[in-house]
């Protein structure tokens, strides 16, 4: 397997930013770990610190997330995250709905990459029920996953630019561009599945929707356009001096911290750990593909951006490889869904993980639940966003409020998945 060290522009020469303010407290190499359990009463007996509640209604908390910041001037002393504002009790719902019904529900968890959610769920169910997936369906799933990864990273990139540049400024311009390009992929998905977001295109043992005629050509043109526009984004944002000032050396999550917190995906790869489930624990058709994993060493916001942009490119490459060579054959190994009690399992446990755009998205399912075994007994979603967010109390102290927003944006939290 080939391993690339980040080759994208900008990360080759990584020096201490030339025009960083001498008084600014930005770490450059390792995370200056803040203490998440800092006793504020002892640290600040005279209550001089300002408590700033960033969220739950705030333009850049990516949903409803609350950060309680203890500020010394604008410098963060302690950060206490609060999540759960979007908690919908999906795991409890799983104990009531049946295996068949759960697939569309899981689109709503990570609403930026619903494909991965469906896939992780059906993979867990398939291994629980011992269902084989035909080769065509596995290829199609891989293809959809890679397209979804492009769409998800594009949305993240736009939203991150908006965190840096504001909704009424240059950030929103890139946001609109990213949405414009993401739209192309959603159009492709719409053509295939009929929905732009909540696809319900997987079923246990295969896929529900087959490729329509002329679909491959549309995918080709979509990814061609995206690949061209990526160059534009780079000249617009990621090589811009102001952007580099804002992101270089900001929010360093080093490899030790990332692994300790269970952070996977782009954040871990940005910290220099060469770890990607697509290559290291292949699922779907990834064992037949060569996935190139990009890593960077800095672990800061800039490195994370570089990693994600490189992943878009890699996904484009994989889509190009796959799109014309999807094997013929049956789409599913099971009979099409005709009843909500179609799949049953009395016992057993299964775990399946996919590399979602945010990291390892795992589903742990225990069989033999309600509805005479047609529902899981207990289902746990190992959501990568929750793990990624848990780095905030360690990373934020020592940064200013502006950096807090940039760091929060760069870890790419999807609150639907964090709170579930």
């Amino acid at each position: 397997m080939e391993v690339e060290v980040a080759s994208s522009a900008g990360s080759a020469s990584r020096e201490i930013p030339a025009n960083q303010h001498p008084l600014s407290n930005c770490p450059t190499a390792k995370t200056r770990r803040g203490d998440p359990y800092l006793d504020i009463a002892a640290y600040d007996p005279e209550a001089d610190l300002m408590v700033l509640n960033l969220g739950p209604q705030h333009p850049s908390t990516h949903g409803v997330f609350r950060l309680k910041l203890y500020l010394d001037g604008e410098m963060i002393v302690k950060a206490v995250p609060f999540c759960g504002y979007l908690h919908r009790g999906v795991e409890k719902l799983c104990e009531k709905l049946t295996y068949v019904q759960l697939v569309p529900i899981f689109d709503k968890n990570d609403y930026v990459s619903p494909m991965m959610n469906e896939q992780s769920l059906v993979m867990a169910f398939e291994s629980l029920l011992g269902v084989e997936v035909p080769r065509r369906a596995r290829y199609l799933r891989t293809l959809l996953a890679e397209l979804q990864r492009i769409a998800s990273h594009l949305l993240w990139f736009g939203a991150f630019a908006m965190d840096l540049g504001g909704a009424l400024g240059g950030g929103s311009t890139l946001f609109m561009y990213c949405f414009r390009e993401r739209e192309l992929i959603l159009d492709v998905f719409e053509e295939l599945t009929g929905c732009r977001f909540h696809y319900n295109t997987h079923m246990i043992g295969g896929n529900r929707h087959d490729i329509p005629t002329g679909w491959a050509a549309k995918v080709h043109s979509a990814i061609d356009i995206i690949e061209r526009r990526l160059i534009e984004y780079e000249s617009y944002l990621t090589t811009n001096r102001i952007y580099l000032d804002r992101t270089r050396g900001v929010g360093v999550v080093d490899a030790d911290l990332a692994m300790e917190l269970g952070i996977t995906g782009p954040i871990l790869r940005a910290a220099g750990i060469d770890h990607d489930l697509r290559r290291d624990a292949p699922y779907h058709a990834y064992d037949e593909l060569e996935v190139r994993v990009t890593t960077a060493t800095a672990g800061d916001c800039e490195a994370r951006t570089q990693i994600r942009l490189a992943e878009i490119r890699e996904s484009i490459r994989l889509v190009r490889l796959m799109i014309d060579g999807i094997p013929e054959g049956p789409l599913g190994s099971r009979k099409p869904i005709k009843s909500n009690l179609a799949e049953k399992s009395d016992r057993g446990q299964a775990y399946a993980a996919v590399e979602s755009p945010r990291g390892e998205l795992g589903i742990y399912v225990m069989g033999g639940g309600a509805n005479r075994g047609a529902s899981p007994y207990r289902l746990k979603i190992r959501s990568p966003s929750l793990h990624a967010l848990s780095c905030l109390p360690y990373v934020l102290p020592g940064h200013v409020v502006s950096d807090a927003v940039a760091i929060l944006g760069s870890v790419d939290p999807i609150m639907g998945e964090v709170d579930r």
């Binding site: 697939v103 414009r180 719409e190 529900r208 002329g214 090589t239």
Partner: protein
Amino acid sequence: MMPYFVDTVRSLFVTMRNVLRKPTTVHFPMERRVRTERYRASFALLHDQAGEELCIGCKACERICPSEVITVDAEKRESSVTGKKRSYAKAFTLDQNACIYCELCVQVCPTDAIVMTRTAQEPAFHRQTLCLNMERLYDNERTQPLTWANASRLIEMQSPPAKEPAKAQDNEDAGKGQAP
């Protein structure tokens, strides 16, 4: 200092290039995008070619609906077309307030009675407006473009061995006149 000016000019170059491109958004209520033939937006109940209601009130859709938005009341009566006695849906309500458009009800329908339409439900002032009853579902059959998918087509597509994907041309009156 100089990089700031140079990069500003470069960013300006990108944005100015986009000024020349055609806008991608449309003004939604006046202008609508063309939706693909699988697009799922709303629902309709179908008649067969003889004008007979296809729904037999079997409640398969009610059972599979993950968000429990469908309620069906069945009754047995004589057909006004063929004169034979069979079961019908007396009341059929689909509450779009909570619908997740997962297409599972279409998938499980044994008679291809329920299909989805391609025009999205307009925003409404009252929740009741978003609740489709049987008359409105049968209205939708006449007034709205239907999607390609119905139960038998989905099953044909999914069941092993898979057939050739459906052609775009024969979707003109998808779902109509396919009484089992």
